[in-house]
C-alpha cells in the first residue's frame, strides 16, 4: 500500500472518498490507484450482484455504478490536484457501452480519467475490464457538474483528508 501511495499520491484520498459512499461499501469497491490523471477501482465478484441468473453474469447496473464512482472519483482527484480544494461533483450524464459480459467469479476493474476540467464542467472517460484493459467489458463517457468547495460539508472534508485541519 505504501508503495502505491508513493507512486500514486492520491490513492488514499480516493479510497476515503469511495469509503464514504454507502452503496460502494455494499459493493466492496476498493481503490487500487489514484493520481491527478487517473483512478483504478476493483469490484469483487459477488453472487448477490447477478443480473443474468442463467449464466451468473453480473448486472449492467453494477458496471454503471463502478464507472460512475470511478469517473466521479477521478474528477475529485483532478480538482484536488489542480486547485488543492475538495469538490463533490454530481453526474450530469453517463453513457456506457457494453462490449462483452463480465466473466463470473472474477473481479472487474474500473479505470477512469478526467480528461478535461473546465470552469463549470468536468469530462471523463472510463473502461471496465478483467484480464486486460485492451479487452474491455465496457467503455463509458460522462460529464460532471462542478460545484463550489463550500458545498462540501466539514465532516465530509475531514473524512476525506484523514485528519482535522489545525491551521
Amino acid at each position: 500500500m505504501k508503495e502505491t501511495a508513493d507512486v500514486f499520491p492520491l490513492t488514499e484520498m480516493a479510497s476515503r472518498f469511495v469509503a464514504q459512499l454507502t452503496q460502494c461499501q455494499k459493493l466492496k469497491l476498493k481503490v487500487l490507484e489514484g493520481s491527478s490523471k487517473h483512478v483504478l477501482i476493483e469490484l469483487p465478484y459477488d453472487t448477490q450482484l447477478i443480473g443474468y441468473p442463467d449464466t451468473g453474469v453480473i448486472h449492467g447496473g453494477v458496471i454503471t455504478t463502478l464507472m460512475d464512482t470511478a469517473s466521479g472519483c477521478a474528477v475529485v482527484c483532478s480538482i484536488f490536484d489542480k486547485f488543492g480544494s475538495l469538490e463533490i461533483s454530481p453526474t450530469l450524464d453517463l453513457r456506457v457501452d457494453y462490449m462483452k459480459p463480465a466473466e463470473p467469479f472474477k473481479p472487474v476493474y474500473g479505470f477512469a480519467q478526467c480528461y478535461k476540467l473546465s470552469s463549470s464542467v468536468a469530462f471523463t472517460r472510463a473502461i471496465a475490464y478483467q484480464d486486460s484493459i485492451d479487452d474491455p467489458i465496457a467503455h463509458a463517457v460522462g460529464s460532471f457538474m462542478r460545484i463550489s468547495p463550500e458545498m462540501v460539508g466539514e465532516e465530509f472534508r475531514q473524512a476525506l483528508m484523514g485528519e482535522p485541519r489545525n491551521d
Binding site: T47, Y52, T69, D97, Y98
Partner: protein, 156 residues
C-alpha cells in the same frame, strides 16, 4: 460418476419463458424479479396497472451514494432503470432469454433523495435483434423527473 454440481446447475438453469408465463398468469411480475439477485440487492419492486408496469425502488439506506445530502448513488438509479427496461421487454415481447444490454445512456436531472423512486419504460422501437427503450425516473411528482435514460438491448 455424476458431477456433484450438476444438480445445482440444473436448478439454476432458468426457463425464462415459463417464468414469464407464470408471472403473467399470476399477474405478479415481482415473480420475475425474484430470480434476479441484483434486483433484490437494490430492493426493487414492480406493479401492474392495466397495461402499464410501474417500477418502484423503495428508499433504502444501502443505496445511498452521497451521505451529505443524502442522495441515492447515481449508479443505483441507473441499475434500477436498466433492470426496469429488461423486465418491460421480457413482459411485453415474451422473450425466451433475458435481454442483454448493448448501451445505456443516462441524464441526471435532479438529485435523487432518500425517498421512494419510480420508473416507467417505453419500448421506442423493436427490431428483429435490437430493441430501443426509453426510461423515466421520478420521486414525488411524475412531472419532476430525476433521470431519463435510453438504452439498446439485444433480444432473441
Amino acid at each position: 460418476m455424476t458431477n456433484p454440481n450438476a444438480d445445482e446447475c440444473e436448478q439454476t438453469k432458468l426457463d425464462v419463458k415459463s417464468i414469464i408465463r407464470k408471472a403473467t398468469e399470476l399477474n405478479d411480475f415481482g415473480h420475475l424479479l425474484e430470480h434476479v439477485p441484483y434486483a433484490k440487492f437494490i430492493g426493487m419492486e414492480v406493479d401492474r396497472f392495466g397495461d402499464e408496469l410501474i417500477f418502484k425502488l423503495p428508499a433504502k439506506d444501502d443505496n445511498i451514494g452521497n451521505p451529505v445530502l443524502p442522495a441515492l448513488h447515481g449508479g443505483v438509479i441507473a441499475g434500477f432503470m436498466e433492470m426496469s427496461a429488461i423486465v418491460q421487454l421480457m413482459v411485453f415481447m415474451q422473450t425466451s432469454k433475458v435481454p442483454k444490454v448493448v448501451d445505456f445512456s443516462i441524464d441526471y436531472l435532479r438529485a435523487g433523495y432518500h425517498k421512494d423512486s419510480f420508473a416507467e419504460c417505453k419500448i421506442t422501437r423493436q427490431g428483429r435483434r435490437v430493441a430501443n427503450v426509453s426510461i423515466n425516473c421520478w420521486q414525488t411528482n411524475r412531472k419532476h423527473l430525476i433521470a431519463t435514460a435510453r438504452a439498446h438491448f439485444l433480444i432473441d
